[in-house]
């Protein structure tokens, strides 16, 4: 029988290391699962059509738009959000660099920027400015003109992360 948008399906996934099992409407986005069902409101929704990058999360270590993914597609996946990248006490080195450089104003894009930067630095520990700019080109910031964001990522890259820290 054909699947309808409101039909409920069961999905099991891992979010920030915790197992999650839910029965959800097929049309429910991953962003809605995270924000509304799990209360992880650090993931922000800015455009709902996959351009602005505010909703970026890591899915099995790769950045993904949680507004474009259906929650029920996530069967077996491991999802990491800004909450999962934030230490229980204090901030990660990348977050500290963002704060030191004032790499935000309103802060709405920031979680997505941190997630995208985490992916970048995992693959390219010493990116130059052009590489940073290209890596963040999928995340819109309307406030900062990107200057301090680029500085923050470069600063975090220059100071290797503590191997024990989440970022």
């Amino acid at each position: 029988m054909i699947l309808t948008p409101a039909e409920r399906l069961r999905v099991r996934l891992t979010v920030n290391g915790e197992p999650v099992e839910r029965e959800l409407e097929a049309r429910r986005s991953l962003a809605d699962l995270l924000r509304e069902d799990l209360g992880l409101t650090g993931t922000h929704v800015g455009c709902e059509h996959g351009v602005c990058g505010a909703c970026t999360v890591l899915v099995d270590g790769r950045s993904a738009r949680s507004c474009l993914l259906l929650a029920v597609q996530m069967e077996g996946a491991s999802v990491t959000t800004i909450e999962g990248l934030t230490p229980a006490d204090g901030l990660s080195p990348l977050q500290e660099a963002f704060r030191a450089c004032h790499a935000m104003q309103c802060g709405f894009c920031t979680p997505g920027m941190i997630v995208a930067s985490t992916e970048l630095l995992a693959a390219t520990p010493e990116p130059d400015e052009a590489v940073i700019r290209e890596a963040l080109a999928g995340n819109l910031c309307m406030c900062t003109g990107y200057v301090n964001i680029v500085r923050a990522v470069a600063r975090a890259a220059a100071r290797p992360a503590d191997p024990g820290s989440p970022a």
């Binding site: 409101t41 351009v51 704060r99 802060g107 979680p111 999928g138």
Partner: protein, 803 residues
């Protein structure tokens, strides 16, 4: 943290709020919940102009999970029309949903509240609307012509305001001039598009007939009065909260949406949340006015400016909230930083079948600056002068400050020539001019653009008397509260909710200096709560006003608390107040630092041991203060106006390279030298300059709300309404001068809009500079690669593939 020698103000203190925002711990309106919360969705017009013949929502209302449905007819019966945000001549009723006629694509006609957003959106599909399409008018000059389709037939015209303001002998100057430069410029519709869209939660308490709102509306003072009037309740029964606001830039003020939520909440008996989606945001929230400007600049052979004559058409769309706002703010800023003895301004404010225009970073000033700075650059080319030299010959100079412009603005301080000179130096202007010539010889197209601007701050609604003939609102003011809590820690609240300006940090710096404590000891309330924040009609986050009014409110409230702390300490120490100072968290006897009373101890006296107070002193340590900026004036007998008050300034210098084959434009270098008076926290100031400059770049090269001739918006997603990404813009290099304002308490000036004002002109001047040898003149924005390719193609010999 110990107090720096010169105090906390002026220190690049990392931001308190950044610590939570970087961890995703901000609280934005969509992060908030309420028990039994419903979710709203709105049905919007697919037509630019149509009569609503029939609207049947009965099928939607019967759907499971739907708790309330609202139509235009019901809105008209249950609520009053929306009061304009400013005094206006367009006295036509405007409700929160279209009643019998739609006037732009995206205008809401019905709304649903349901158990979740998906159900609400499903229900919209069951609302049946029959429209009778009408001819739409999209072009503002067409809208001005007799016989044009009328948005409001009862007004008899689409022109909301037309007037000619003359200051000085313009005709004489035009007649005497050695030459007159005449140009026509246009600007597109664009918007700053905060990354967080608009949203609200409304709750109705039937027991007390009271409404409560949580919203990212950036101008709560005015909004509360509009909501109360439309809902028919006293303002004392409307409570409004602003949580963290994810950017605003002027766009976030639409009381209609709050009213829709309120009416749904009252009907359903449950709280209702509505979060605008991005297509709704781009289609229907707020666009900067597009417009057309004819400029005549009369000059002497040496380049001295004699007169400026401007005809300005502002396309308001269906803007009944703030029509004429763009016009008046342009008029207030018309002379830019130049000595122009005579000015004439003929203005039209025109309604069309497009999204309501309204406040957007810089309101009108980016276009005014674009027109003037393009004209100056054209004039320099005509006279064979360097564009920097022509500007230097015409600036208001530092020794002429304060300087009153012909239209009534008072430039309070600054050194405009020095600002440009420093920018040229930082840019290496001479070096790049030489490089440009070398590159040209190689067939490469480099262009250098210069634009400079004044950046006014603050607001004064008295100026609208020029339009309406009566004064309905006036002045420039904000309110703040400073309270030392019983434990000695400090709490501050402000009528202006930050939307990214770092108030929790910079306000703490200001108060820390006043009270001799550290910024950590000062907690500044996030956002706004009308029940706990002091506020007035003018309260809000807009008009670049922090330095003009808010700082004064904070300083004033803190100064009263400071005086009281000192009086209590003097009484307890049996010493004269003049012998005491507040520092290191205590009242300390000058010259005898061991004799001290900690602020916590003074607070204990003030709240708990009130018999220890000086005779006649009231218990408690709390003060409210409202600061009014002294520069605000009514319209004077010469029709001079002062819509904004305190003037910062900036010089932009940028380098573009154009791909001669594709027309692609690369910004290679961008230098800004700005002067916003005393910088209260340079880390915040720099961020503002970076961000607003990139807004200007976006307007220059990428962003356009483009309508077809039937009024359909063609760019309603971020896939076709293009924003600058990190890969599109260079690092904005900044340097500064600091000429403190004599009319603000700490000498600070506005800094939120400065980059957005000259940015479009600087980039346009650079592009034209790269292509001028091909006869190219930039007269409109955005300058797309397609446009440049067409210019290059037209300049090439037929059949040639090389430039």
């Amino acid at each position: 943290m110990s107090e720096p020698g010169g105090g906390w103000v002026g220190v690049s203190l990392p931001l308190k709020e950044d610590a939570r925002l970087v961890a995703g711990r901000g609280r934005f309106v969509d992060d908030l919940g309420r028990a039994r919360l419903l979710h709203a969705a709105m049905l919007r017009s697919p037509h630019a102009h149509a009569r609503v013949v029939r609207l049947d929502a009965s099928e939607a209302a019967a759907m499971p999970g739907v708790l309330a449905v609202l139509t235009g007819a019901e809105v008209a019966a249950r609520s009053g029309p929306i009061r304009p945000l400013i005094p206006t001549t367009a006295a036509v009723p405007d409700h929160c949903l279209a009643v019998d006629r739609v006037r732009y694509v995206g205008e809401p006609v019905a709304a649903v509240a349901a158990v979740d957003r998906a159900t609400a959106e499903d229900a919209l599909e069951r609302i049946h609307v029959e429209y009778a399409p009408l001819s739409a008018v999209v072009d503002p000059e067409a809208a001005m012509r007799p016989g044009a389709p009328l948005l409001y037939p009862e007004l008899g015209t689409n022109v909301v305001w037309h007037d000619t303001l003359t200051y000085g002998d313009v005709d004489g100057a035009l007649a005497r001039a050695d030459g007159v430069l005449r140009e026509r410029f246009a600007i597109q519709r664009y918007a700053s598009t905060p990354l967080e869209t608009f949203g609200a939660i409304a709750e109705y308490d039937a027991g007390t007939d009271a409404f409560e709102f949580w919203t990212n509306d950036q101008r709560p003072g005015l909004t509360i009065s509009i909501l109360a009037a439309s809902l028919g309740v006293p303002q004392s029964r409307v409570r409004l909260h602003c949580p963290d606001i994810g950017g605003a830039f002027g766009n976030k003020r639409r009381p209609a949406y709050l009213l829709v939520c309120a009416l749904l909440a009252r009907a359903a008996g449950r709280p209702v949340k509505w979060i605008e989606d991005r297509i709704e945001n781009l289609t229907a929230l707020m666009h900067a006015c597009n417009g057309i400007m004819d400029v005549e600049l009369a000059y002497r052979a040496d380049g001295t400016l004699l007169a400026l004559d401007v005809r300005d058409v502002a396309d308001e769309g269906k803007n009944l909230l703030t029509p004429t706002q763009h016009n008046l703010i342009k008029l207030g800023n018309i002379a830019n930083g130049y000595r122009i003895p005579a000015v004439r301004y003929e203005a039209w404010s025109v309604l069309t079948n497009k999204c309501p225009s309204g406040a957007n970073r810089g309101i009108g000033k980016p276009f005014m600056c674009f027109a003037i700075e393009r004209a100056m650059t054209r004039l320099a080319r005509r006279l064979g002068l360097d564009p920097a030299e022509l500007r230097l010959r015409n600036y208001v100079t530092a020794d002429q400050m304060p300087y009153t412009t012909p239209t009534g603005a008072e430039y309070d301080s600054g050194d405009y020539p020095a600002t440009l000179r420093l920018a040229l130096e930082r840019f290496d202007y001479a070096g790049w001019r030489a490089e440009q010539a070398r590159a040209r010889a190689e067939g490469r197209l480099l262009g250098i653009g210069i634009a400079t601007s004044v950046e006014p701050a603050g607001t004064n609604l008295a100026s609208y008397e020029l339009v309406t003939g009566r004064r309905a609102a006036s002045g420039s003011a904000e309110a703040a509260m400073v309270r030392v809590e019983p434990d000695g820690q400090v709490r501050v609240s402000l009528g202006d909710p930050s939307s990214g300006q770092g108030y929790e940090t910079v306000v703490a710096q200001i108060v820390a200096d006043e009270l001799g404590v550290t910024p950590e000891a000062v907690s500044v309330a996030r956002g706004f709560d009308s029940a706990t924040t002091p506020w007035l009609y003018l309260s809000g986050n807009y008009s670049n006003k922090f330095s003009v009014t808010d700082v004064g409110a904070v300083v004033g409230a803190a100064a009263r608390v400071r005086a009281k702390l000192l009086r209590i300490a003097a009484h307890r120490l049996e010493i004269d107040v003049a012998d005491l100072e507040l520092r290191d968290g205590a009242a300390v006897v000058r010259g005898a630092p061991d004799r001290r009373l900690a602020i916590a101890e003074l607070a204990r006296t003030a709240y708990a041991d009130v018999l220890g107070l000086p005779p006649g002193e009231d218990p408690g340590l709390e003060s409210h203060h409202i600061h009014q900026n002294p520069l605000a004036r009514p319209v004077d007998a010469s029709r001079r106006i002062r819509p904004q008050l305190v003037f910062a300034n900036a010089a932009h210098c940028c380098l573009v390279e154009i791909d001669p084959r594709t027309g692609g434009i690369t910004l290679r270098k961008y230098v800004v030298v700005h002067d916003c008076g005393r910088e209260l926290n340079p880390l915040i100031v720099e961020g503002m300059v970076h961000g607003s400059t990139v807004h200007g770049i976006g307007a220059a090269l990428l962003e356009e709300f483009r309508y077809d001739e039937t009024g359909q918006l063609l760019t309603s997603t971020f896939m076709d309404y293009l924003k600058p990404t990190a890969a599109d813009v260079p690092t904005i290099e900044i340097d500064r001068l600091e000429h403190p304002s004599p009319v603000t308490p700490l000498g600070a000036k506005g800094v939120g809009e400065g980059g957005a004002i000259p940015g479009p002109a600087a980039v346009a001047n650079a592009v034209e500079d790269a292509l001028a040898h091909l006869g190219v003149v930039v007269r409109s924005l955005p300058i797309t690669p397609e446009q440049v390719w067409r210019w290059l193609s037209a300049a090439k010999p037929a059949g040639s593939t090389e430039p």
